[in-house]
């Protein structure tokens, strides 16, 4: 989807189709979300097959839906792809589990992923990012979006305990989950693509666990940590390990590349912002926050209302599905003045909700923040300037806002 909205157009909120994949591939959702925040903060849509869902788009409402599991449960599924079909992994997969069980499982994992814990990986991540950027230094066209798909695997593979030979396949599988009807990833039908990717990812983790058990040796990897935690006094079941491992692979792989591409695109479009960051590297942490706000790679999450709930000036009936549009919340003028302006000095950029909000706040956020900071430190230090070398191509997904292609050409910076 376009991250800088085009000229405004008349939006008919009664007929708008938020699940129209063309809107995200080649259209412009921001003017629609702008109209929804202004005129229909609680929006209702019925799909042609009769399934229906409500949408909240304002910052405050998005935070409420994501933040309060008593009113809005995760246990019937959290991605709109599965709207209307209760999640088969409810109560097992961490993202589809409410507190208190969710808290028990999350706590020991989160302890491995705090800002302090991930700090020890900074040097190795910097080395990885230097290797990643190396091919762009020769002045040839570099398809940032395509290459960035592999970046999280390069960064997190060693931490998760996944050998390099498997990265490409896993990246392909996680991309299939997020955009099953994108021609880059489609296998047969959308349903088949989803099933193949779920199946192979879950099987991958299961086989990984079996091999580790047989080897009986422990290591320091996150997947091994999943095998050893004892939330509530008992170890995770094999199914929980497989599904949470799947979820961690997915979370690591499918969002960071798009934040990288979206932020670089914003900087190339605005050379004055690029120069500002280059002149003052202390702005980079805030540049990262603004890039997260701007690109909002996880475009939305879904919840189900437990009881009738009043929100956004209307009522969601008990058991109704509600989609919290993170991409819209991050452009809410009530929170971010001039929301469609990309400004690396924005004073409250850190209030972005690109990592979500509440109990399911992204467990990998400290690692993602550090990776992005190191990425932009290295990029700005190595490249004098960057130009586009072709049109970007957008991911065919209403769930992940991202790009499949962003060709750029970079000019090397003379060594200072």
């Amino acid at each position: 989807m376009r991250l800088t909205p085009g000229p405004g157009y008349d939006v008919d909120l009664d007929s708008v189709d938020l699940f129209d994949l063309d809107l995200y591939t080649s259209g412009d959702p921001h003017p629609i979300w702008d109209a929804m925040r202004a005129k229909a903060p609680l929006h209702h849509q019925v799909l042609p097959d009769g399934r229906e869902f409500w949408s909240v788009t304002r910052y405050e409402d998005v935070c409420r839906v994501l933040g309060d599991h008593r009113e809005f449960t995760s246990e019937r599924g959290t991605v709109p792809t599965h709207l209307g079909t209760d999640d088969v992994a409810a109560g097992v997969l961490m993202t589809s589990t409410d507190p208190p069980r969710h808290t028990e499982v999350r706590r020991p994992l989160g302890a491995k992923l705090t800002a302090r814990a991930v700090k020890s990986w900074e040097d190795s991540i910097r080395g990885t990012i230097q290797r990643f950027l190396e091919p762009a230094l020769d002045g040839e066209t570099f398809d940032l979006a395509e290459r960035a798909l592999l970046l999280p695997a390069m960064v997190t593979g060693p931490l998760l305990g996944i050998p390099e030979k498997d990265w490409e396949e896993l990246v392909q599988l996680t991309a299939m989950v997020t955009a099953p009807s994108d021609p880059h990833f489609l296998q047969g039908s959308e349903a088949a693509t989803l099933a193949i990717s779920h199946h192979e990812l879950v099987t991958y983790v299961k086989e990984w666990v079996t091999a580790r058990r047989a080897a009986e040796g422990g290591d320091d990897s996150l997947l091994h940590h999943l095998m050893s935690v004892r939330p509530g006094g008992a170890p995770l079941s094999d199914e929980e390990i497989a599904l949470d491992g799947y979820s961690i692979l997915l979370g690591a792989n499918v969002t960071t590349p798009h934040t990288v591409s979206g932020t670089v695109q914003a900087l190339v479009e605005r050379p004055e912002q690029f120069e500002k960051a280059q002149a003052d590297p202390s702005l980079i942490p805030n540049l990262v926050e603004e890039g997260l706000r701007w690109s909002s790679a996880a475009c939305n999450f879904m919840r189900y209302a437990v009881d009738d709930v009043h929100i956004g000036g209307g009522t969601i009936p008990a058991r109704g599905a509600v989609v919290a549009w993170i991409g819209s919340a991050n452009r809410d003028a009530a929170q971010f003045p001039d929301p469609h302006t990309f400004d690396i000095t924005r004073s409250n950029a850190k209030r972005q909700v690109a990592f979500g909000f509440g109990p399911h706040f992204c467990i990998g956020a400290p690692l993602a923040r550090m990776t992005l900071r190191v990425f932009f430190e290295e990029l700005l230090q190595r490249f004098r300037s960057i130009e586009f070398a072709g049109e970007p191509q957008h991911l065919r997904s209403y769930f992940i806002a991202g790009m499949t292609h962003l060709p750029i050409v970079a000019q090397k910076r003379r060594t200072p």
């Binding site: 088969v88 047969g188 088949a192 989803l194 193949i196 779920h198 199946h199 192979e200 879950v202």
Partner: protein, 86 residues
């Protein structure tokens, strides 16, 4: 319990057998040409079905082939091919 399919079994009856096997996991009556996903099949049922096929027929189906086949009749063909190749 090992199920021994007769060597002469025509693909038609194998298709019916596979349809019955799916029925155990999808909890409904299934015909050889019904669509896996329309029946509510997902990857968690797929994992169980592929395991059972390996156990009962000695054929390890490729994950991709299984979901792209999508009906018991076409999965039966995959099993036939798997046996022929074995």
């Amino acid at each position: 319990m090992e199920r021994q399919a007769a060597p002469s079994s025509a693909p038609v009856s194998l298709g019916q057998e596979i349809a019955e096997l799916w029925g155990e996991f999808l909890h409904c009556r299934i015909g050889p040409d019904d669509d896996f996903f329309t029946l509510g099949g997902n990857s968690l049922t797929g994992i169980k079905i592929i395991d059972r096929v390996a156990q009962d027929y000695g054929v390890q189906l490729s994950v991709r082939d299984f979901y792209l086949a999508q009906t018991p009749a076409r999965v039966a063909e995959l099993i036939e091919q798997g046996r022929a190749g074995a």
